[in-house]
C-alpha cells in the first residue's frame, strides 16, 4: 500500500538531487536543469497531498508551478543565449565580476 508518506519521501529525494545539482554544478545550463528537477519534485508533493486530502487545490498549485517553470525557461534561456553570445561561455564563474 502506497501512502502519502511514500510520495513525500520520493519528493524529498528528488528535491535533494536537484539541490545537490544546484550547489555542485558550475555550468549554467545544468543549473537550469537542476532547478527543473526541484520544481518537479515540488509538483509531485502537491499532487500527492491533493489526492490524499481529496482536494483539487494541490493540483491547481502544481499547474501554476508548471506555468512558472515554462516562463522561467523562456526568459532564462534567452538570457543564457545572450550571455553566451557576449562571452562565449556559460560557466558560472565567468559571471564573477567582483574579486574577493
Amino acid at each position: 500500500m502506497i501512502t502519502l508518506t511514500h510520495y513525500l519521501v520520493l519528493s524529498a529525494i528528488l528535491f535533494s538531487i536537484g539541490l545537490a545539482g544546484v550547489i555542485r554544478r558550475k555550468n549554467l545550463l545544468l543549473l537550469f536543469f537542476s532547478t527543473e528537477i526541484m520544481l518537479n519534485a515540488a509538483n509531485i508533493g502537491f499532487a500527492a497531498i491533493g489526492k490524499f486530502y481529496g482536494d483539487l487545490t494541490g493540483q491547481m498549485v502544481a499547474f501554476f508551478i508548471i506555468a512558472v517553470a515554462a516562463s522561467e525557461v523562456a526568459v532564462g534561456l534567452g538570457l543564457l543565449v545572450l550571455w553566451y553570445k557576449r562571452t562565449g561561455t556559460i560557466d558560472l564563474e565567468s559571471m564573477q565580476e567582483m574579486k574577493g
Partner: protein, 192 residues
C-alpha cells in the same frame, strides 16, 4: 500493483535525475531530464491527476525540453562540460547534510504517525465529475484570477524570450566583441 508501479517509476526517475546532476555531457543530461519528466507524469496518473499528467508530458517534454534542445544549438554540446568543481570539504558536507536533513524532515511521519489527514475539512472535493472536468471547473471559477495572471506572465515571458534571443541576429555576436558591435551600430546609423 500500485506498489510495483510506484517503485518502478521511482527508480527510473531517481536514476534519470542522478544522471542529469552528475553527467559530464550536457546532451546526455538533457535527454535524461526528458526521460525523467515522462516518468514523473506516471506518478501523476497514479495520483488520479490525469490532466496534470498530460500537461506534464505536453509542457515539459514537449515545450520545455524542446526549448532547451533549441537553446543548446547555440552552445557547443558535443564536448564534455569543463567545470571547475572544487572538491571542497565544507561544501560537500553542507549539501550532504542538507539532503539528509530534508529527507528526515519529510519522513518523520513514518516514525511518528502524528499527521492525520482530515478530509472532512476540505471544501473542494472531486465529486462525480472525472478529473479533467473537475480541473476545468475549479480553474475557471475559484482560480480564474490566478489563471489570467499566469496567462499574462506567459505572454510577458514569451515577448522577453523573443527580444532577448532575436536581437541583433544579423550580426554574429560570437566572434565580435562588445565594442565592435557598438561601433557597427554607429556605422549602421551613419549609413542611414
Amino acid at each position: 500493483m500500485e506498489a510495483i508501479a510506484f517503485y518502478l517509476f521511482s527508480v527510473i526517475t531517481i536514476g534519470m535525475f542522478a544522471i542529469v546532476v552528475f553527467s559530464k555531457n550536457a546532451l546526455y543530461a538533457m535527454s535524461a531530464l526528458a526521460g525523467g519528466m515522462i516518468a514523473i507524469s506516471g506518478f501523476f496518473f497514479m495520483l488520479d491527476a490525469d490532466f496534470l499528467g498530460a500537461v506534464q508530458i505536453i509542457v515539459y517534454t514537449g515545450a520545455v525540453m524542446a526549448l532547451y534542445a533549441f537553446g543548446m544549438m547555440f552552445f557547443d554540446t558535443t564536448k564534455d562540460v569543463k567545470e571547475n568543481i572544487k572538491e571542497d570539504k565544507i561544501v560537500n558536507a553542507l549539501w550532504i547534510s542538507a539532503v539528509v536533513i530534508l529527507i528526515v524532515i519529510v519522513s518523520v511521519p513514518f516514525v511518528s504517525d502524528h499527521i492525520m489527514l482530515d478530509a472532512s475539512t476540505s471544501d473542494y472535493k472531486v465529486i462525480g465529475a472525472n478529473n479533467p472536468q473537475a480541473v476545468g471547473i475549479f480553474l475557471f471559477t475559484k482560480y480564474l484570477v490566478q489563471f489570467e495572471l499566469a496567462a499574462v506572465m506567459l505572454l510577458v515571458a514569451m515577448i522577453a524570450g523573443i527580444i532577448l534571443v532575436s536581437k541583433k541576429m544579423d550580426i554574429s555576436l560570437t566572434t565580435t566583441v562588445e565594442e565592435k558591435i557598438e561601433k557597427e551600430e554607429f556605422d549602421i546609423k551613419d549609413a542611414k
